[in-house]
Symmetry: C2
Subunit: 313 residues, 2 copies
Amino acid sequence: MNTNWIKAFAPATVANVSCGFDVFGFALHQPGDEVEIRLNDSGHVTVTQIMGDANLLPREAHLNTCGVAVQQFLHATKLAHGAEIKLTKNLPLGSGMGSSAASAVAALVAINHATGNKLSRKDLLPFAVEAERMACGSAHADNVAPALMGGFVLIRDKETLDIINIPTPAELIAVVIHPHIEIKTSDARQAMRKTLSLHDAVKQWGNTAALVTGLMKEDFDLIGRSLEDVVAEPVRSIFIPGYDRVKQAALNNGALGCGISGSGPSMFALCKGEASAQQVAKAMQEAFQDIQLKADSYVSGINSNGAQVISSQ
Amino acid sequence: MNTNWIKAFAPATVANVSCGFDVFGFALHQPGDEVEIRLNDSGHVTVTQIMGDANLLPREAHLNTCGVAVQQFLHATKLAHGAEIKLTKNLPLGSGMGSSAASAVAALVAINHATGNKLSRKDLLPFAVEAERMACGSAHADNVAPALMGGFVLIRDKETLDIINIPTPAELIAVVIHPHIEIKTSDARQAMRKTLSLHDAVKQWGNTAALVTGLMKEDFDLIGRSLEDVVAEPVRSIFIPGYDRVKQAALNNGALGCGISGSGPSMFALCKGEASAQQVAKAMQEAFQDIQLKADSYVSGINSNGAQVISSQ
């Protein structure tokens, strides 16, 4: 039994990406959560330390996203080990940046490493999805899949976890702005209508198909036209103060498109090139400031690697 | 004024392509309709001959899909010419193979040639869509766009006619089987539910995105998995006797996927390679024969050229 501390990093992710509710997500390089895991022979999973959560996250393993993921892993692999977990939260809670997903995924990559890397990233995915079910009330994969596998991913089918990597242009840069308010994923999901008109649905699937085409053809104009959301944005943007103003600021400053990151309140924009992204980030942050809302901004290319072990001694 | 007879061909098309209701369509090499047009100074559009329609199509220009398309063209280009139209129907009416679209598109390519090819294919599209509105009761572009432009197309937005070409693998071969029953597009559209569940919609847009990815990556297995339709097929397949049996015959014989062509009754399958397609065509035809339904079969690669002028003297 490897009793070294294994430390892994998993990145923030942007889910939905405007048109792709529940099917698209991509990984950033930074920020991300770090999880340290050490195997023991207790037979139990314990969370002994959490930093950076302002004491808000549950310490009980079965209520903590890292704990659930590791319990799922040990149960499925029939390993009798116990494990001790330390979590460093760099992602804000309830931010729409895949905070719970990053913690679960970092924990899984660490425990898999500690037990000899017997499972592939794809094999780890169901455990992360179970952790999401516990944390957010729904078993969605659009944060955990890109956090785990990296890149821009399509969840073709969430029941079979058919995950497909979509190539993206090197010049594609993401901006994420996190205003300092919290929205619970479970609340944001409840706000969604359970049915939609055929007319809106056709628009949405025209755009999901077009976004993939734009990304694969490196057609930035088409990427921009496809970043349209007639399903989630009309309902969820209401929860985000200044949404229209911030989106307009992004578009006025050259963003290809702009929308809600996951279930919000963070907003994302996609841009062509680093300089454009920096300008867009500044404009969006200032637009939040105009309504007295403090907001952090992140600028990152698409992280094609996903979660990584960063130390193992 | 060019008073030669200009003859153009426009191909059959498969619209929807399982997951892509109202957004996907592709063109076959054969069969197709032929339209001959000769300009005159009458100021009127007349349809003087239709062959192959068993006398079922209206001869009045404003009620005929060719006539409407040409009227739209002459009105928009402010040309004072009249035109005489002869139509040879090789496509069965009400077959789900884009019969009305092929006639309209062939007429537009011919009249554009006769008047000096001043308009691009994209410019011609709105006139073809207007002809569809008259013929089918809805202004859909998923047959006219591939018939006009060729290839596998995505209609990202039917209001702005944002049409995108999707590259396809050379080995991709389509089978179309036309059982000898007729379904009116307007009836088939009325059968569609006007709303759908968010759950079904997410499935559908996961598949539209995945089909594009499969086509562009030349991933035949992914193409097959994506050819799933939870929106139109459950309702429209009821109108097609033996549907489940014929689909199963296609899949049992190696088709990547199988579904309804347009609004039916024709069915299509996509296959990897000509030999596979021939086997699938035979199996589907036999399955219709088993229930005493005569059916024609067509096997074709994707026609990347679309409609063509074939003589101009």
